[in-house]
């Protein structure tokens, strides 16, 4: 810190000028606790002057040491976090800040535990650099490959592979080279711009902020030198102009500006632009950089653009250049990282937020998911917490995207569960840039919803609301068997137990009307109780067909026929076909009503009515 410290003393204004010019670099450190990640971060913070003396004293004390710095357990500096985690505070990404003479750094510190993928993805989403730690004694583990795969998927341009604990292998060059070669071979199929290898000891401080005398064979930079110099300016996409409109500024009649942050590319006064979805074109009349007019602007500046023509444009629209258009699609392929305890439900619709527009979307198909052990693509019916899959998503409107690999800003989206408002997934648009003719592109931009016209509420969601799956309880029995009495007693009992049930009361004489009502109620997740006469097998087959076999719960009310005749002497008792496939058979002989209700209830429960559906 020498030069900066001197400058602060001698010329504070010069120091501030210099400080202001520093570049910003964001990095994420990846590795499990045993890899020495905490030690590395602690070491970086300490060696760049971010640790106060009393903190250090506390760490020394905890390390049972009196002085020598090379024996201090630097992981204890971030161990505050671990203690907090035990209290339930830290299950999450924490951000840390430090600066050197050259750059300001933001570390996304992602604790390594069960929710690791979710945390790592969050930290990696904005990172310029990923630091991966590998234990020199253990070599390239599957976990290292997994971390690198995720970092690559999240579009981190630069990877620093830190082969740690070199002190425990006596700084063995051959061992380091073997790890380097093996990892490089694996990483050549990934999408990093560059991968750099470091032989380090986070514990002893070798090759962290200065070159270690113990590795004379390593001519590469040390870690801090690397972080200070890795070129990040070129990581911005300055080719493809994309400007999602955030909001319209209209402070007076003479000013109409479109405010937003340039996602990628550059724009200057006089450039032609096209707005999506309308396809209308105009030219840039003025660019205001936070109140100051400028001639040109570039990503990631927040600006306000004024156009030469009055174009009807609002939040959610995107300005592009007519000769360089994004993909415009209502159905997109994407990698999804599932971040919710509740698994992906392909039957329900989610909210999808992409740049400045939010819309309904459904995951139509899961092509594969990543097997986290083998890193192979395996078939999947759903995605659970921390799963990564490749899916096809249909939306109610067109998205204006670029493949994530090409554009991190317009290739990224999140999924929100509209029932809980939780963010449940991170999405990265896959595929290639399409080469649609402008006319076809605009047709797609203005087309209607790609969602099929069917319910967007899934059975699982209904279950989560009601605590039951929904069924048609179909009571079959002779006239006088007590079907209606049972129906109402059952409804009462279910209600008292916190369930939601209704007795379907016919408005006419025909079975079809009852079936429509029963089906609607069952779809809604209710327990629809029907006592409508269905003496023939054909009647019950129709019920099964209309309601669905798995949702029909047939109860044979098998009351003593003599008793039935006595109760309803004038009804038609002939020709009754007793069901052979009833789920439950009960009798409503005298005094048995409550017992029968209990039997039906048990039958429903045994049939899984109150268990959460798996899909």
């Amino acid at each position: 810190m020498g030069t900066d410290a001197d400058l602060i003393k001698s010329d504070i204004r010069a120091y501030l000028d210099k400080y202001e010019q520093k570049e910003l670099l964001r990095f994420v450190a990846v590795g499990s606790v045993d890899d020495g990640k905490s030690t590395l971060i602690g070491r970086l913070l300490h060696d760049t002057g971010m640790v106060y003396e009393d903190q250090l004293a506390a760490v020394k004390k905890a390390s049972n040491l009196e002085g020598e710095e090379d024996e201090i357990d630097f992981s204890l500096l971030t161990d505050g976090l671990r203690a907090e985690r035990e209290q339930g505070i830290t299950i999450d990404v924490a951000y840390r800040y430090f600066a050197t003479d050259k750059r300001k750094f933001i570390i996304a510190d992602t604790p390594g535990h069960i929710q690791y993928t979710r945390n790592m993805v969050t930290g990696a989403s904005t990172a310029n650099v990923g630091l991966i730690l590998i234990d020199a004694r253990l070599g390239v583990l599957q976990q290292s490959r997994r971390h690198a795969t995720i970092a690559s998927l999240l579009g981190i341009p630069h990877l620093a592979v830190c082969v740690n604990k070199m002190d425990l292998t006596d700084f063995d060059q051959d061992g380091f080279n073997a790890i380097r070669d093996e990892f490089a071979e694996f990483a050549k199929d990934l999408s990093f711009k560059d991968v750099t290898f470091f032989p380090i000891s986070a514990l002893k401080g070798d090759n962290i902020v200065s070159n270690s005398p113990k590795t004379p064979w390593h001519d590469g930079p040390n870690i801090l030198e690397y972080l200070e110099n890795v070129p990040v300016a070129a990581d911005y996409n300055l080719e493809d102009f994309r400007f999602p409109v955030q909001t319209t500024l209209r402070p007076n009649l003479n000013y109409r500006g479109f405010a937003g942050q340039i996602s990628s590319g550059t724009i200057k006064v006089g450039d032609p632009i096209m707005t999506l979805p309308s396809g209308k074109t105009s030219t840039v009349e003025a660019i205001d950089l936070l109140g100051v007019p400028v001639q040109e602007a570039f990503c990631p500046q927040s600006v306000t653009i004024r156009l030469a023509d009055e174009i009807d444009t609002s939040r959610g629209d995107m300005f592009v250049k007519p000769e360089n258009t994004p993909n415009v699609q209502r159905i997109t392929e994407a990698h999804l990282v599932w971040m919710s305890e509740t698994a992906l439900d392909t039957e329900k619709s989610y909210l999808l937020k992409h740049t400045t527009q939010t819309m309904r979307a459904e995951v139509e198909h899961i092509d594969w998911k990543l097997d986290m052990d083998t890193l192979e693509h395996v078939p999947a019916a759903t995605l659970d917490l921390n799963d990564i899959g490749y899916v096809r998503i249909s939306c109610t409107r067109a998205l204006y995207t670029d493949p994530y690999a090409k554009n991190r800003a317009t290739g990224a989206f999140i999924l929100i569960d509209s029932a809980t408002n939780n963010t449940v997934a991170a999405g990265m648009v896959g595929g290639q840039s399409s080469l649609l003719e402008l006319e076809d592109l605009l047709k797609e931009a203005r087309a209607g919803s790609a969602l099929p016209p069917r319910t967007q509420v899934s059975t699982r969601e209904r279950y989560d609301r009601l605590g039951q799956r929904g069924a048609t309880v179909w009571l079959t029995g002779l006239p006088g068997s007590g079907r209606w009495a049972l129906a109402y007693a059952l409804e009462r009992r279910l209600f008292d137990e916190g369930r939601t049930a209704t007795v379907i009361v016919p408005t006419g004489e025909d079975l079809d009307g009852v079936l429509s009502a029963a089906r609607a109620a069952t779809d809604a997740g209710l327990i629809a109780i029907c006592a409508f006469p269905s003496p023939s097998k054909a009647d019950r087959d129709l019920v099964r067909e209309k309601v669905g076999a798995e949702r029909m719960f047939q109860v044979f009310v098998n009351t003593d026929p003599a008793l039935c005749l006595e109760r309803r002497p004038n009804a038609e008792h002939e020709g009754f076909e007793a069901p052979e496939d009833a789920a439950v058979e009960v009798s409503l002989d005298a005094g048995r009503l409550l017992a029968a209700v209990g039997e039906v209830l048990k039958g429903l429960s045994d049939a899984g009515q109150f268990d959460r559906p798996s899909h």
Binding site: E23, G80, T122, Q246, N421
Partner: protein
């Protein structure tokens, strides 16, 4: 930092991100408000809001929860700032708390700030039905902040559940709430204290004069210098105010804010003192200031 290089300095990058955050919240929430505590961080946030919607005004009001024990300089500054910038400033006082006579002398600072600051804030948010409140907190202030989201969800009781935060990726913010729920939005999350000072300097942002050294009347209590700001200050037996050159690192309610002896009467001089302490001395009190001090300030400002 020139346009031809097409590259932003870290300060410009922080600025552009903060502007994006402020515009995003203003566009997506029905009824946002900007919490204004009169401090330097609030000043920077307010300045960013002005820039975000230039040449117009921010499309939301500002809210100051007044504990009635602020330095009189702060109130003067607040009213002048609002007037100069055409800001729609709401001032809320917990009248119940005021009537009950809660004050920083007789009540513990926790109880007092809980009533006048945190309760006051909740009252104001409920009264106006705000679904979004911008706050000037930074992640480098203390540890629990380090993991708080930029868009930080609050339930209908204004509670933050640190164990159940929404994942926050890229700059794609989830702003969904139900009736009665709200989101605290922290545009300065990634700024450090030095960044804030530097921006104050670069943008000529007005700050309360108390941040700069001047000769002021103080008494010393338990090693802390307390300014005698008005006649409500209760002097202990034998205490006589002395005149000292002092300034404040953080501003809150005057009987609870300790001053430091200093001759730094310009922003660069203040920054120099701050950095010199950080680089060379690193005494325990700085830690206290950084950890507990800001935690207390956070409570005072009622950000949770």
């Amino acid at each position: 930092m020139s346009l031809t290089q097409q590259q932003l300095t870290h300060l410009q990058q922080l600025e552009t991100e903060s502007i994006h955050i402020i515009r995003e919240a203003a566009a997506e929430f029905d009824n946002p408000v900007m919490l204004y505590s009169i401090g330097k961080d609030s000043g920077v946030m307010a300045h960013l809001a002005m820039k975000a919607f230039a040449p117009g005004k921010p499309p939301f009001p500002f809210l100051h929860v007044d504990t009635t024990w602020k330095f009189s300089d702060m109130i003067t500054f607040r009213d002048q700032y609002a007037k100069d910038n055409g800001i729609d400033l709401l001032v809320h006082i917990n009248e119940e708390g005021k009537a009950s006579g809660v004050n920083p002398f007789d009540d513990g600072s926790n109880h007092y700030t809980g009533v006048m600051k945190t309760q006051g804030l909740k009252q104001a948010l409920d009264k106006y039905g705000f679904d979004c409140a911008f706050g000037g907190a930074r992640r480098d202030e203390e540890r629990s902040r380090a993991k708080e989201r930029i868009f930080s969800f609050r339930d209908k009781h204004h509670q933050w559940d640190p164990k159940n935060q929404r994942p926050e990726l890229w700059s794609t913010y989830n702003t969904r709430t139900r009736q009665g729920e709200s989101v605290r939005v922290f545009p300065l999350s990634n700024w450090t204290e030095l960044d804030v000072w530097l921006y104050v300097l670069r943008e000529n942002i007005p700050i309360v004069p108390l941040y700069l050294s001047a000769v002021r009347p103080v008494v010393e209590r338990n090693g802390t210098l307390i300014m005698v700001d008005d006649e409500r200050m209760r002097l202990l037996p034998g205490e006589v105010p002395m005149m000292k050159s002092i300034r404040f690192r953080t501003l809150g309610c005057y009987p609870l804010s300790g001053a430091v002896e200093s001759t730094a009467d310009t922003v660069p001089a203040v920054v120099r003192e701050m950095l010199m302490t950080t680089f060379s001395e690193r005494q325990g009190r700085l830690i206290d200031f950084d950890e507990d001090g800001s935690m207390e300030r956070k409570k005072r400002e009622g950000y949770f």
